[in-house]
Symmetry: C2
Subunit: 355 residues, 2 copies
């Protein structure tokens, strides 16, 4: 059915066909879970009437059922079979949508099969994927509940003296116990490391007086959550406590701006203005948030240039932060859905926890 919606857009915008390699778009369109195809060409072909066929290596012969599929065996030329499928579906030239993350070597081989003009699928399919249906929202919510539970558990651990990377791993285990796994590698940034929003957890041990940024997410039947909390061990630098309150207010102001019909950039603006007015503008160096769904980063992006109009059913993060080199950082992130106004899906305590 989702293939039908896509093919309607294809007709309207004069795309002759779409080529979709394994990933979240293929799953979204077909429900097929095809993992790690590696170098073996695996492609869903769709024409503008919605007629479609999957080309897949024979190792999937036992796992793909009830779906129009052509298998190719080791030793055969998969592109000859692809060419036959394109012929069967009446796709010989013209504008073709291509999965953004398809391997370049596959695309190079497709170039030789016809006179095509290639366009990335992403901007087209994101219009479908941005608004979640009820079944999807249930799964995002479930993934959000998992990270809330994990936060409760983290607070029960003896954190002082633990290495960042060991804490990150324990968080991963706690997520895996409760869900299909992590939606990205957990971030633990303690003390001065908190000043780098892209810090990778390392050897540094957590100390009394640290602010510690914890950023992690879970997957539930493919759908992602993503939460950040910043906690204090003992009594951190009063400057950081002040910063914490600014970030919390910025996050709340952004959240209160969310409603059906506002532009993404207005939500960003609310967070950014709060931080600028407190004098920390130059230390807020990233977007306010990003969409969440089958991918942990997807549309709508909540940034200064976010032209997407927020609509009911859209899910995204709100995660302003302040990062002061040499001192440390604070970030607070929730997952939000538009339902008239904004509703938080993550509900863990946002006031400063001091352990």
């Amino acid at each position: 059915m989702r293939i039908g919606v896509l093919s309607k857009i294809m007709t309207e915008e004069e795309f002759e066909g779409a080529l979709i390699s394994p990933g979240s778009n293929l799953y979204y369109l077909t429900g097929l879970r095809i993992h790690e195809a590696g170098e073996r060409p695996t492609l869903l072909v769709i024409n503008r009437d919605g007629v479609h066929r999957l080309l897949a290596p024979s190792l999937y012969e036992n796992s793909i059922r009830d779906f129009p599929v052509t298998f190719w065996h080791d030793g055969e030329d998969p592109y000859a079979k692809l060419s036959a499928i394109l012929g069967e579906l009446g796709i010989s030239s013209g504008r073709l949508l291509v999965e953004d993350t398809m391997r370049a070597d596959w695309l190079i081989n497709v170039m030789r099969l016809g006179s095509f003009e290639f366009h990335p699928l992403g901007p087209v399919i994101r219009r479908l994927r941005m608004r979640k249906d009820i079944a999807e929202l249930k799964l995002v919510k479930k993934a959000a509940e998992v990270v809330d539970e994990v936060f409760e558990e983290i607070l029960s651990w003896d954190l002082v003296g633990m290495r960042e990377r060991d804490l990150a791993f324990r968080i991963e285990l706690a997520i895996r116990e409760r869900s299909d796994g992590i939606s990205f590698e957990p971030i633990v940034a303690s003390g001065e490391n908190g000043a780098n929003p892209h810090h990778e957890p390392g050897e540094r041990k957590l100390r009394k007086g640290d602010m510690v940024i914890l950023d992690y997410g879970a997957k539930w039947e493919g759908y992602c959550s993503d939460i950040t909390r910043t906690i204090a061990l003992g009594r951190p630098d009063p400057k950081l406590v002040e910063i914490y309150e600014v970030v919390k207010e910025a996050q709340e102001n952004a959240f209160l701006t969310v409603r059906d019909g506002v532009k993404a950039r207005e939500v960003d603006r609310a967070a950014r203005e709060t931080i600028e007015n407190a004098g920390y503008g130059r230390y807020f160096t990233h977007r306010t948030g990003h969409g969440l769904g089958l991918d942990v980063h997807e549309e709508p992006f909540i940034g200064p240039d976010g032209e997407v109009t927020l609509r009911n059913g859209m899910t995204f993060t709100i995660e302003p932060g302040i990062y002061v080199p040499g001192l440390g950082g604070v970030r607070i992130e929730d997952d939000v859905v538009v339902d008239g106004k904004g509703k938080r899906l993550t509900r863990a305590d946002r006031s400063l926890v001091q352990l």
Copy 2:
């Protein structure tokens, strides 16, 4: 220096330039560890004189040093900057090498920057990467030692009653304790599940009388190992014990065929003939092995069509198997280096362990 070797091949084969996105080839050529660039274009450009420049998003500003790099910031057009780099390096048209795994949307944007003919980098760079130097061999060996140790540890566990997926996870933890992590998701295939060489560990609990295939690998400073052992819990079906001895002999015969100067397919032939002669030919459904290095699957592939001539310094797996639907399966896999003749890097016991 490795960039110099690549540029020499580029000159000989009339490639004007190479575009390399993050992954093992970029690491191999530069030593730069650039993780998960996601959707933000990150590309190394090399011309045929070996002059090179990296285009990278500004989030790497603090982590990339002592390397010719141009950063682009959110809001800027990375392809305008790429176009400038191509101009600076004198690359405006002609044959261009492209990293096989580059995202298609990046390649679609590159198409608009000039009149290029694209070719996958893989077949060119694999000639460099297939033969490991001494420093690389040390790392593969280290990764192989890790999986040997983990096998010893597995044998000390109480396996009967454990779910496949829990055992797979414990194996992963044991690998992570000793190394940089897993080189792929461990496979545990017990009982009848052993008949599927691509089985994903599931809910089935290990039982007395099972043969259990354990296939896992470690990474050490980027370099991969990969081992398979099949163990017996209690007394398995005598047919499977017979099959075990056939696979063991096939693996040994393939190993004894390895030497500097033979073709990959001769090694495959030795394994395949042993299995065919025992009457199980149609149950050996995959290649005998694959190269190992920065990627866990790379050249040389050891299959019936393996035309690569094995040379000193090449590292690969030898892993014949027999898979009988409804009964189960056996696979035995070692990592091997060519050093005159073959030398095993994995040394865990290959005789049938009965627990």
